[in-house]
Symmetry: C2
Subunit: 333 residues, 2 copies
């Protein structure tokens, strides 16, 4: 049996994004729905609470766009980078909706869309896929509090302050017609990378594995898509991905785009290797790529959300960083 899962009744009927000031100031700024121009706190007194608030705002915004009350939303898939996924846990606790927690590190957006698509297709229920990251909560948990002003390495990526929410509904539901036609779960792949400041290199082999499996099984070539979007490989990881793919005999260079590269003006905003975090692919896909499909400027997109399955202690204990890449195939219907 192949790895591609056809989803016959899964439509993104609404999506929304909540971002910080740097993301708003970047090249995709005009596409985002909600932002905090003042200080990225969203009115809360801890960075963790700010991130939770962003998830709440994102889900609320997407439900409003889809004109859904709580009783009309059947299940929420959500996850994030903070220990025990509390940004989702606390951010969404007030919604009176069944809740399924997921963890895919920065691939969580794609994992949520994948699970929502299968759920929607089988159960005919309306699902929401929600995720987030916040620069300040992530940096202090995984590296150093940003207030320390630590020097960043050239390959380091900037954790995006962003939350995204997608409503995934079965056929014949109201709303926009971006269809998820098939999905493929990633395999966890350990390429031996141990540098916490080079996540792109840890995730690129997993993205390559997923893309290769998909193109092979679907018998399509990269040229037949409008684009193949990876989650957050950044500049370093993207160049590694293209290199690995070439060695495997696939040239995807003309169609490849990466959310970590798109979201910032890397040079002007001094973003080193680009953006990362669950919110990176989350808000870029929820706002920019979904918009391209809705407007008919694109009609066929492969999205491969990438994640690194480690924690701060695992590196101290001598482990390397496994990567993963989940795929979601979206078309304009």
């Amino acid at each position: 049996m192949g790895d591609i899962i056809k989803t016959d009744s899964a439509y993104i009927t609404a999506s929304s994004s909540v971002v910080g000031s740097l993301e708003k100031a970047g090249p995709l700024g005009e596409y985002f729905d909600i932002w905090d121009e003042k200080d990225d706190t969203f009115g809360k007194d801890s960075w963790e609470k700010s991130e939770s608030e962003m998830q709440r705002l994102a889900l609320k915004c997407s439900m409003e766009k889809a004109v859904l009350s709580e009783g009309e939303l059947d299940v929420i898939f959500a996850g994030d980078l903070i220990n025990q996924c509390i940004s989702s846990g606390y951010g969404l606790v007030d919604f009176d909706v069944p809740f399924l927690g997921i963890y895919g590190a920065c691939s969580t957006c794609a994992e949520g869309l994948l699970l929502s698509s299968v759920f929607s297709s089988y159960t005919k229920k309306r699902c929401a896929a929600v995720t987030s990251s916040h620069n300040c909560s992530a940096e202090r948990q995984f590296r150093f509090p940003v207030e320390y002003g630590s020097q960043r390495t050239p390959t380091s990526q900037w954790t995006v302050t962003g939350a995204a929410s997608f409503i995934v509904s079965p056929k014949n539901d109201r709303g926009e017609r971006v269809k998820i036609v098939d999905v493929m779960a990633g395999k966890s792949i350990d390429a031996g990378i141990t540098d916490v400041n080079n996540m792109g290199a840890a995730m690129a082999p997993a993205a390559a594995d997923t893309i290769q499996r998909y193109l092979t099984e679907s018998k399509r070539d990269a040229e037949s898509f409008d684009c193949i979007v990876t989650g957050d490989l950044g500049l370093e990881g993207s160049s590694i991905l293209l290199e690995i793919m070439k060695k495997k005999g696939f040239d995807i260079s003309s169609k490849h785009r990466d959310c970590g590269v798109e979201i910032y003006d890397i040079e002007k905003q001094d973003m080193h290797a680009g953006g990362s975090g669950c919110g990176c692919s989350g808000v870029t896909v929820a706002s920019y790529f979904t918009d391209k499909l809705k407007k008919g400027e694109m009609s066929d997109i492969l999205f491969v959300g990438t994640g690194a399955l480690m924690n701060a202690m695992s590196l101290q204990q001598g482990n390397s960083i496994p990567g993963i890449g989940h795929l979601v195939h979206m078309v304009r219907e």
Copy 2:
């Protein structure tokens, strides 16, 4: 639309459990497959690596029981309590199988079974649901390293050292015939509990909500089941659950059992309020309750895995502890 999801093609064809010495010495000891009689390290040099090794052993054991090679297993759902779910991430990285990370705290076993059942029913793929907890890795992360010898409060529960794996297959697959007939996702419910040493009280309202919704929608009463098994409420949480249910007009007391109460001889083993952790309901359901169904000693079980969606920092920041309870309805076919 109701909250119960009928799963028309989901069978537990094999399940396995890996436990520590205290669990092996408890009343369910004879049911477990693998244990470390020496020191609960499973031959590894950190508690986190020991827990990962337990997940690897559990999945391997269940695949052997189901006579499955890696190529015959289509997807793994796995999660655990350690930051960023690394017990699953590292424990299962060597299996060449698509991997979907989940997070439901101690409800992870039930969440994995729920998702596997929907996946198996829709995609006809073979799924594995894997989870774990280890007393030493959990205690040092959530409370204090066990080596400190901290005093435990009367309501505190003992994190179970255990890993469980279930193979969930579509109809007509080989293996035992324990059928998952329907499932229901829990809602996250915050009852205002802030005591990290009283998880049972935090989780009981969520279990009650799920059980009430299920009994109401299915129009069945508690007496019609062999038992209603909760995840790991322990003595304190169980008594709160029965009290809440009575107030709601449901008497489940004659059918209620709790994995946190079953797994230890609470008095002799000095376990205060009982067991907890992802591994608690994991190994109890994987070995004891599944065995009862296989042998025909029971034929109809409601399993409600319970979890607390918090982390150590969230309590320091003044948050209370939301609970959740996911339901899996298993019958002997």
